[in-house]
């Protein structure tokens, strides 16, 4: 992105944000979450961040979320993790080293986000200092043992190994407006090439 474009975007953002006066609530922002564990693991792999999963009964889970909330948005932690609360049944089948039990589970995503490895689990009522310390260690461990992803070779390797993520919506676009997704640029042309 060129310098002029960046400046224009920033100017526009400042113009928009001037219309709102942020409230000082005295509390940390809400904890992030995902619509599904499958999606969370995929995103964690794409961003190369450790995934923090909260699993348990509703009341315990709400208390744990409140404990985790200020930690997630604090210095040293913010922007280094993704979070998923209440993963769907059977989510543990893709994570090695994990028992299906309540807790705060720190998972290192695999290369393609289709599986992962447990770093450590904590009880839902763990103390904030303990949670923060384990999260910091998990991040350091993951960073030290994870090679920065090169997207071109990642995609090539995925194709070679037949790695495929079936999304909720079919991939591609309806380029010829016939109501069907065209998976390749020249698929489903109405008029065949001569």
């Amino acid at each position: 992105m060129g310098g002029d474009s960046t400046r224009q975007i920033i100017a526009r953002m400042e113009e928009l944000s001037d219309r709102y006066m942020p409230k000082e609530t005295g509390r940390a922002p809400l904890l992030q979450d995902f619509d599904s564990f499958r999606q969370a693991l995929n995103v964690a792999a794409a961003d190369q961040r450790v995934l923090v999963i909260l699993q348990g009964a509703e009341d315990e889970l709400e208390r744990a979320k409140e404990t985790l909330r200020p930690i997630a948005w604090s210095g040293g932690i913010i922007g280094r993790f993704h979070y998923d609360c209440s993963p769907e049944p059977n989510w543990t089948s893709t994570i090695s080293g994990l028992e299906d039990s309540p807790g705060i589970h720190l998972v290192q995503p695999g290369q393609f986000g289709t599986e992962g490895v447990l770093y450590q689990s904590l009880p839902l009522d763990a103390r904030p200092e303990e949670i923060r310390a384990v999260m910091s260690r998990a991040n350091s461990h993951y960073a030290a043992n994870t090679e920065q992803k090169v997207y071109a070779s990642h995609v090539a390797e995925g194709r070679k190994n037949g790695i495929y993520f079936a999304g909720a919506v079919p991939y591609g676009e309806d380029r010829d407006a016939d109501g069907e997704i065209d998976h390749r640029p020249h698929e489903n042309r109405r008029t065949p090439r001569q």
Partner: protein, 80 residues
């Protein structure tokens, strides 16, 4: 984390889409290198559902910066 001031006034919401970038004239997969951000360093703390972003925006009275992205390329997951 060094967050520019203009971003502090916004709430970052990031949404998953399925169309690959290159289908819209963006870069081809073979053109892409690695992210600028080293593994383990802090990036943007996105809200990853509309629900949490909306509630947080209302709670803190901030506007939402909405970004759509795909975490797959040609069906290969684990990549932006």
């Amino acid at each position: 984390m060094h967050t520019p001031n203009h971003l502090l006034s916004f709430l970052a919401l990031w949404c998953l889409v399925t169309s690959p970038l290159y289908a819209q004239g963006g870069p081809r997969p073979t053109d892409l290198g690695s992210a600028d951000l080293p593994v383990g360093e802090p990036g943007i703390a996105w809200h990853t559902t509309w629900s949490s972003a909306w509630h947080e925006a209302q709670r803190s009275n901030r506007s939402i910066m909405f970004v759509a992205a795909a975490t797959q390329c040609g069906g290969v997951p684990g990549v932006f």
